[in-house]
């Protein structure tokens, strides 16, 4: 300052300091309220599937079963469903029967709580549990063609059905998933919310930012040129944030998946979806 004096010197002793303190508190409060508004959940009626942001061509690809490459995996999955395997010599169909009725709506409520593990398991993990415990066959590798085929076939049976997340036992895992979703991480110091809650609909490197609802997994991503699971997609985002990725099957992914399904509750399933 030109006069070099303390701007607070003209005020009675003590009063200036407390004024500054109060002002700072007000500003901090304001900032934190603004921040909490910014990072709030997307209102239920404002939620939309990434499908809505896609081009007409990509939408047409998803909508028509003979143009949707994800259907190749579904057809494979149907064969795998009926194939006897493992030491038990049983197929999925031997226990579960016709997937079109027994698997209807199942994928829409996964990850589901597993009492034996006291934790939620996702669709891929459930298939592997069935394989190792009931079929006595080796577990399938994450992102392997056969595992994706089976999960695509099962998920296909829920197409059009609303996502369900009503199991109270999932509550702590939803909270854990939310914690990861809202936590800053990686070299870019970003949290999932910064893109998917605060800036959806904007562009990132020319590409529209989606709200990030897992309505169509496993899905065919044109960028991948193959089908992939939600865990693969989550790894993709983590790499983009320059954060450390969790290994496949990590509880962090399952918690995120559980939270994301809760976040998308009520939205219709699209599996196998097509994304750019």
């Amino acid at each position: 300052m030109s006069d070099g004096g303390d701007p607070l010197a003209s005020l009675p002793p003590g009063q200036g300091r407390s004024f500054v303190l109060i002002a700072a508190t007000v500003i901090v409060t304001l900032l934190s309220t603004t921040l909490s508004v910014l990072t709030g959940d997307i209102p239920v009626d404002k939620r939309s599937s990434t499908y809505e942001q896609m081009s007409a061509d990509t939408k047409a690809m998803q909508d028509e079963d003979t143009a949707n490459p994800g259907m190749l995996w579904v057809l494979d999955g149907e064969v795998a469903w009926r194939t006897r395997t493992g030491a038990a010599g049983r197929s999925c169909a031997d226990c579960h029967g016709e997937a079109s009725s027994t698997m209807k709506g199942v994928a829409a409520r996964y990850p589901a709580f597993d009492t034996k593990r006291s934790a939620p398991v996702d669709m891929e993990e459930r298939i592997n549990i069935c394989r190792t415990e009931h079929q006595r066959a080796p577990a399938l590798a994450f992102e392997s063609k056969e595992l994706l085929a089976l999960s695509a076939y099962v998920a296909r049976q829920s197409r059009g059905m609303p996502i369900e997340s009503s199991d109270a036992r999932l509550t702590p895992f939803i909270a854990a998933g939310r914690d990861i979703f809202e936590r800053r991480q990686g070299q870019l110091n970003l949290a999932c919310v910064h893109c998917h809650n605060d800036n959806w609909g904007q562009k990132l490197a020319g590409v529209p930012i989606p709200q990030g609802h897992p309505t169509g997994y496993p899905l065919y991503r044109l960028e991948w040129q193959t089908l992939g699971s939600l865990q693969r997609r989550l790894r993709n985002c983590l790499i983009g944030m320059r954060a450390e990725i969790y290994p496949y099957g990590a509880p962090e992914y399952v918690a995120l998946e559980t939270f994301l399904m809760w976040r998308a509750r009520g939205m219709p399933m699209e599996s196998p979806a097509v994304r750019p």
């Binding site: 028509e64 003979t66 143009a67 490459p69 057809l75 494979d76 040129q225």
Partner: protein, 106 residues
């Protein structure tokens, strides 16, 4: 592996233009990629697609490494007579796939 998805109308009027859609399962490895240790991954693509209508060639295409995995080829033709449409894909490493679809022309 389910090899292909075909969409041909089952019925058409004589002289009608019909759309035909085909999707073949193939990873279309370009030959330009390397493994993590630097070993080139050899090219493995579908190189040719031919469609015949009652034995007569109605559409063909040559495919190159820039074409994405699981090539989706769609074209149109005129429904002239009832019969069979046959689709053939051939490619590297002896790849060959054939699919058929019947059409009734009234």
């Amino acid at each position: 592996m389910a090899s292909a998805l075909i969409n041909v109308p089952t019925k058409a009027k004589r002289g009608e233009i019909i759309a035909i859609k085909t999707l073949i399962s193939h990873h279309m490895e370009t030959g330009f990629r390397h493994t993590e240790t630097g070993v080139p991954i050899p090219r493995d693509i579908v190189t040719r697609f031919v469609a015949t209508y009652n034995g007569e060639e109605i559409f063909s295409a040559q495919l190159y490494p820039a074409i994405a995995a699981n090539p989706f080829i769609t074209f149109s033709t005129v429904a002239t007579e009832s019969g069979t449409l046959e689709f053939k894909w051939t490619g590297d490493n002896g790849f060959a796939a054939t699919e058929q679809a019947k059409i009734i022309v009234e």
